[in-house]
């Protein structure tokens, strides 16, 4: 019963949060000087070679047509109305199609890659953490620690720039700048094994960077937790009883050290998506990352606002799930929620 109360209260609390996120996402974008019509004018002058005077006439017409001449609160109200009533995120000014489609094409790719990174990060990070904790101050531990600090300290986009330089410019790899090779781009339907492999050849930098950085984070947590657990009384007792060391570690140490890690998983979703976005922007891999950049820089406001809202929603859900797991595992949390009620 306590958990149900916690669940409902926590779920209700996310609604105003999401509402606030839509306001912030929309108004922040509008706070920037200029609008899509200005960007359109600049691009048309630059790429089309027409004069500013001619471009200005067309840009003014475009502003009226897209409703950008209306006050911001009316634009926001219309957007939220369509969103809540029809689940319609608006139209992309640039692509002249529904934002649902524009974002719908890219979000699944981002989530797929983020999930792969997440899976790798957790698996590699936890195993490396166990190894480091059980080999404290030995060479393996120290190598893992150095790699971890590198993962923490080098910004992900810097690693991506290095990869870009060597992969594209030095090695002239054909697996660059798209999700698939020529023969698979226009192929519809289920992925064959060859197509899947081709996808990995194109997206490995995202997976490598995301996994590396994420694994560092998981590894540090696992190492610290396991070291703490291994110093506890019940482990001493187990050892005194003559249990095998591997059994002590894997049956008693690791499960207890995992609790804080499980609780933190909700927060790592955001971290991994953010990493995927940075790397994809540098390497121009068509996931959400480059779309965020292009939609913000060209003031394609409904696309940009929608992405911010959806990514925030994913983070909110991630945190919500983590909080629920925490409440399930720790009665004190749900009791606190119940008590407050």
């Amino acid at each position: 019963m306590g958990f149900l109360v916690f669940f409902i209260k926590r779920a209700l609390a996310t609604i105003p949060l999401l509402f606030a996120i839509t306001v912030v996402a929309f108004t922040l974008l509008q706070a920037m000087p200029g609008d899509y019509a200005d960007q359109w004018k600049n691009q048309t002058m630059m790429l089309g070679g027409i004069s500013e005077e001619e471009a200005q006439i067309q840009a003014d017409e475009l502003r009226v047509k897209l409703g950008l001449d209306k006050p911001v609160y009316i634009q926001y109200f219309n957007w939220v109305k369509d969103l809540t009533l029809y689940w319609d995120l608006g139209e992309s000014f640039i692509q002249k199609r529904s934002v649902n489609e524009v974002v719908g094409d890219r979000i699944p790719r981002t989530l797929l890659l983020a999930f792969i990174c997440y899976f790798n990060a957790v698996t590699i990070g936890i195993l490396a953490g166990v190894y480091a904790a059980t080999h404290q101050y030995q060479i393996g531990d120290q190598v893992a620690t150095v790699l971890t600090f590198l993962a923490f300290s080098i910004p992900k986009f810097i690693i991506a720039i290095f990869i870009l330089y060597f992969w594209a410019i030095k090695f002239h790899s054909p697996y660059y700048g798209s999700l698939f090779s020529q023969e698979y781009v226009l192929q519809e339907g289920w992925w064959s094994l060859a197509k899947t492999w081709d996808f990995f050849l194109h997206t490995w930098p995202i997976i490598a960077v995301g996994s590396f950085v994420g694994a560092g984070y998981q590894m540090r947590m696992m190492r610290g937790n396991l070291l703490d657990v291994l110093k506890m009384q019940f482990i001493e007792t187990a050892r005194a009883k003559g249990l095998k060391e591997s059994k002590i570690i894997w049956k008693h140490g690791v499960p207890n050290a995992l609790h804080p890690i499980i609780m933190n998983q909700g927060r790592s979703v955001g971290y991994l998506i953010e990493g995927e976005i940075e790397v994809a922007i540098v390497l121009a891999i068509p996931t959400v990352g480059p779309l965020i950049l292009s939609s913000v820089s060209s003031m394609d406001i409904y696309v940009a606002s929608s992405i911010f809202m959806i990514l925030s929603l994913i983070l909110v859900i991630g945190n919500f799930v983590a909080d629920c797991i925490l409440a399930l595992l720790d009665p004190r949390i749900r009791d606190m929620a119940g008590g407050a009620a």
Partner: protein, 675 residues
């Protein structure tokens, strides 16, 4: 505190040096020195040719075609090639094809950052730029290849209009279309398309036509003289500027047989909205006069275009052009275009970001590199502009006083003397890329002569002397000059783009140069500088601002309209006397058909502009065309942008790849098929 001390020191040092610098000033700060000549990066000499040397219009007894279209003919899906060609096709001359007659087949890969809005270019929709628009929007006249034409013959070239004639009073222009050319679905292209383009699009205020209603002059009318002949009648005499406006993008007719039934004037169920979206990006193939027809558009990823079986151009051996069966556009980002060209996964890029130049040179030295970069003449430049309007956007007495300072040519000279262009160039990219710029025409412009560019080069002490002479002393001893009579500190905002890396580096480099003359600069980066310039709310502005062709976009460079340059965006503004002179000479350019007169007026303009430091030129650099080594017939020296973008300048219909090096097509064996 540190800054104040530094300023005090600089100020004292400056006053001690006044005597010496006044001497130096007499020869540099006020003397009319001209810009030193630049050193070519490529060392290439471009051989200019006559306007009839590139192509002609000529018939053949029999035409050859690509095996791809032949297979459609054999299958009964297309008429024979002889029946598909116009009476006298546009014919590329072999002498100007550096690798000669091409070979059919293969694919050409573009990478672009744009996305197709739709295909109704009549209603102002863009197909994604980066070469798609130019490829689809064949126009009445053509500008791109003019970079190769001798200056005294460099009037707009024929294209869909194969020739034209002016009346003796220049109040009418009769144009003759290529006869018997067909749209990609086989429909004849004739004056019905011209009539629809002009009357239902250009002249219809509800359609956002690329050519504004009065672009050829208010009161201009169209008279159809026959299926392939028409006449423009003007209210007043016109010059060849009209022909330039009939080139890409203004003079591109659309398929009237497809679009007319969708237009509200001819369909009571249609709206202007439905008309504008009448050729959506999702419904393919579309109908075009271009060399390629879009057949597949995988949104946000790829556009595949296949050869137009009715294309109306041939080579001198009567082979129907183009040579490639396919051209593709990868839809990624503009930055990625250069990266993919360097990587070898894209075939073509206009490289204009000097930050990439060093790597491009390294690639040139690598025999295994898939790409070659050809640095052209210096055609891109950056200026520091001052807001010369006395009141537009002014919101305080300080700003009003500042504007008066800007309007004083001596102050502008001082700022020019303060700019250390060599340091600026090296801060952007180390190497031989940059040359000082005096403003106005760039060094690579056919209208530029170094002896016309008056140059107030780097001379910080001279700059200080001029400022002292203007009464701008540091009266409160804080290291920053004050406005005359103990006025406010001279603190000046410098607007610049926050997204263009070169602009950012130049603004950063300028800071210490301003400090050295006792002016405190405040950088004002913005990702939308237009928002400031549109309402006059700026003082100084560092931006890419180059002028290449005297007859093109003259209204953006000189105050011939009520909107430009940026400081006159308040409907005209208060022109300085030398600006009146510039306007007079600019009008002379617009009114004449005599190219030698255009060249002479352009020289006058450059002298007046630079002598009065209309803008403070900073640095100028070459751009480079990156093109994959397997691409042939890329004419050496083709500029990234001169009269038009390189996509048109290189004449893509002539490019080819030898059979052995051809890449597999995305869609082999496929042509556009219409229901």
């Amino acid at each position: 505190m540190g800054i104040e001390t530094k300023f005090k020191f600089k100020s004292k040092a400056a006053s001690l040096l006044v005597g010496v610098s006044m001497l130096a000033m007499s020869s540099t700060a006020s003397g009319l020195e001209t810009l030193p000549e630049d050193k070519s990066m490529s060392g290439m000499k471009i051989e200019l040719v006559g306007r009839d040397d590139l192509w002609t219009y000529k018939s053949c007894d029999n035409y050859n075609e690509s095996p791809l279209t032949k297979s459609y003919v054999d299958a009964g899906k297309l008429p024979p090639v002889n029946e598909r060609m116009p009476k006298e096709p546009w014919m590329a001359k072999t002498d100007q094809m550096v690798d000669g007659i091409g070979e059919y087949g293969g694919t050409f890969r573009h990478v672009i950052g744009g996305r197709p809005e739709g295909f109704n270019w009549l209603a102002g929709q863009s197909q994604g730029w980066g070469g798609i628009n130019i490829q689809l929007m064949e126009s009445l006249t053509r500008l791109g290849p003019l970079w190769q034409i001798k200056p005294d013959e460099a009037n707009p070239l024929p294209n869909l209009a194969k020739d034209w004639e002016w009346s003796s009073d220049r109040k009418s222009l009769t144009m003759n279309l290529i006869e018997g050319a067909r749209w990609s679905d086989g429909d004849i292209f004739d004056t019905e398309d011209i009539d629809f383009w002009w009357n239902d699009n250009v002249q219809d205020a509800n359609v956002a036509s690329r050519l504004p209603k009065d672009a050829l002059g208010a009161g201009t009318t169209l008279e159809i003289l026959g299926p392939y002949s028409f006449k423009f009648n003007f209210d007043e005499p016109k010059g060849n500027a009209v022909l330039a406006q009939l080139a890409y993008m203004g003079g591109a007719p659309g398929p009237s047989h497809v679009m007319k039934p969708l237009h509200p004037a001819h369909n009571s169920d249609a709206t202007y909205e439905s008309y504008a979206n009448g050729m959506p990006a999702s419904v393919l193939p579309i109908v075009t006069l271009g060399a390629y027809v879009p057949v597949v558009h995988k949104v946000d990823e790829l556009m595949v275009m296949k050869r137009n079986p009715y294309y109306w151009k041939v080579d001198e051996e009567c082979n129907q052009l183009p040579y490639y069966n396919e051209t593709i556009y990868k839809l990624t980002s503009w930055d990625d275009r250069t990266t993919q060209a360097l990587a070898g996964t894209g075939d073509f890029s206009n490289m204009e970001n000097p930050g990439n130049y060093v790597e491009a040179l390294k690639q040139n030295k690598d025999p295994n590199s898939p790409v070659k970069s050809v640095f052209g003449t210096r055609l891109i430049a950056w200026d520091l502009m001052m807001n010369l309007s006395s009141d537009f956007g002014v919101s305080s007495d300080y700003e009003r006083e500042l504007r008066q300072l800007f309007r004083n040519v001596e102050f502008r000279k001082a700022i020019s003397h303060a700019m250390d262009r060599d340091t600026m160039g090296q801060s952007v990219a180390r190497g031989p890329f940059f040359h000082p710029h005096a403003g106005g025409f760039v060094a690579g412009s056919p209208f530029h002569n170094f002896e016309d560019s008056i140059y107030y080069g780097y001379n910080a002490s001279g700059a200080n002397s001029i400022l002292d002479g203007l009464g701008l002393k540091d009266s409160d001893g804080n290291g920053i000059r004050n406005l005359p009579n103990g006025g406010a500190d001279l603190v000046i905002d410098i607007l610049h783009s926050s997204t263009r890396s070169t602009d950012i580096k130049l603004a950063d480099a300028a800071v210490s140069m301003f400090e050295a003359i006792g002016i405190k600069p405040v950088l004002k980066p913005s990702d939308n500088t237009d928002a400031f310039t549109d309402n006059g709310n700026w003082s100084m502005f560092i931006a890419r601002e180059h002028w290449v062709v005297a007859t093109k976009n003259i209204g953006d460079r000189l105050p011939t309209t009520t909107q430009n340059p940026a400081w006159h965006r308040d409907n005209g503004g208060d022109l300085l006397p030398f600006e009146e002179t510039l306007v007079e000479k600019a009008k002379g350019i617009l009114a004449t058909n005599d190219l030698s007169e255009v060249a002479s007026l352009a020289r006058d303009i450059q002298r007046v502009r630079t002598e009065n430091v209309y803008t403070v030129g900073l640095i100028q650099a070459p751009a480079a065309l990156l093109i994959n080594k397997r691409i042939k017939n890329n004419h050496p020296g083709a500029p990234v942008y001169m009269y038009e973008w390189a996509e048109d300048g290189v004449m893509r219909e002539r490019l080819y790849t030898p059979k052995a090096d051809q890449l597999d097509e995305f869609l082999p064996g496929v042509l556009a098929e219409y229901k």
